[in-house]
Symmetry: C2
């Protein structure tokens, strides 16, 4: 049967629906383990529609990751903007991180996971994961500069290590308490900086 009765014929909404469904199924089961058929079923879309919108599975993966990194960046920026200037803005990042670890079915960072799965190639997942880390470094660098830290670049790189370490340990151990532990480390590093 063709298009479901009652649903809009809206190409942008279709694309967004596929992106959301693919993002969710990739997150839960991994990229390699999920076929286009499964994405199509989860999205309520046909394979033809997926290939017309994204060209290939590789294109779909890149679109999913690009969408994800942009959403994550916006979330962090908003959390930072809501916090008071200074050290609170850095801790606000790690408060958001702690809430993220506590989400049901948390499985780590989509960009790091995708780059790990695709570690033989220098494709979009590798590039997007590196750019994701660069975003964190730049964000922390700005906040540390605002907070008057002496060597903001060095401390920013330290905070990225803590953020990614807590993320993967929390994902592997299925333990949301890593968010609080990361925050303690960050406070120690800020005290020392």
């Amino acid at each position: 049967m063709p298009v479901k009765a009652g649903e809009r014929l809206d190409p942008e909404a279709t694309r967004a629906r596929i992106l959301a469904a693919a993002s969710e199924v990739f997150r839960r089961r991994g990229i390699h383990a999920v076929g286009i058929n499964e994405v199509a079923e989860a999205a309520g879309a046909s394979k033809l529609t997926i290939y017309r919108n994204f060209g290939s599975k590789e294109g779909l993966v890149e679109a999913v990751l690009t969408d994800r990194t942009q959403r994550v960046r916006a979330w962090y920026q908003q959390a930072v903007d809501r916090a008071d200037a200074g050290r609170d803005r850095i801790l606000a990042v790690f408060d958001l991180v702690a809430a993220w670890y506590a989400e049901a079915g948390f499985r780590g960072c989509a960009m790091m996971n995708a780059a790990t799965e695709d570690r033989a190639h220098d494709g979009a997942p590798q590039r997007l994961a590196q750019e994701h880390l660069t975003f964190y470094r730049d964000l922390f660098g700005r906040l540390l500069t605002e907070a008057g830290v002496r060597d903001p670049a060095t401390t920013a790189r330290q905070l990225v290590i803590v953020l990614e370490g807590a993320t993967i340990v929390s994902a592997i151990d299925r333990n949301p308490a890593l968010g609080a532990e990361a925050r303690v480390i960050v406070e120690t590093l800020l005290d020392a900086a």
Copy 2:
């Protein structure tokens, strides 16, 4: 043609050869991306021999990871034993880590990578990755207790976060300098503990 002329017919050596070849090809290209045919070719073994020794691809993966975690644990224990008692033993761990990041083709921790690739299942990779983290926590806990740190368990969990964070960032960014950065963080955390 059958067994290569001049080579020993040694089942243990064959098994070890397959393990080494599989470990290397999994490390470079990932587990999902590598088929049994490729492992057989890399090992100079037939598929029959692989299946007789390991039963299935899943069994091979578990054997590879088990062998890997045991080797890694021995390396860390030896590095610790060579260092002077106290804080030096903890820093010796991170010196070994820094050398590991600098190895050609470094791609991160095999156990974390495998658990990430197989994140939908609660199989051997998940279990071995969690046990690998537990090894680190216990090792750091012992060393911190010896060094007279007040709350060794808390600091041990912090060091695991730093170790794993530096490992994944180094792997993604292809930057061995993360080893030195991790060491600086560790010194700060030890000073504060």
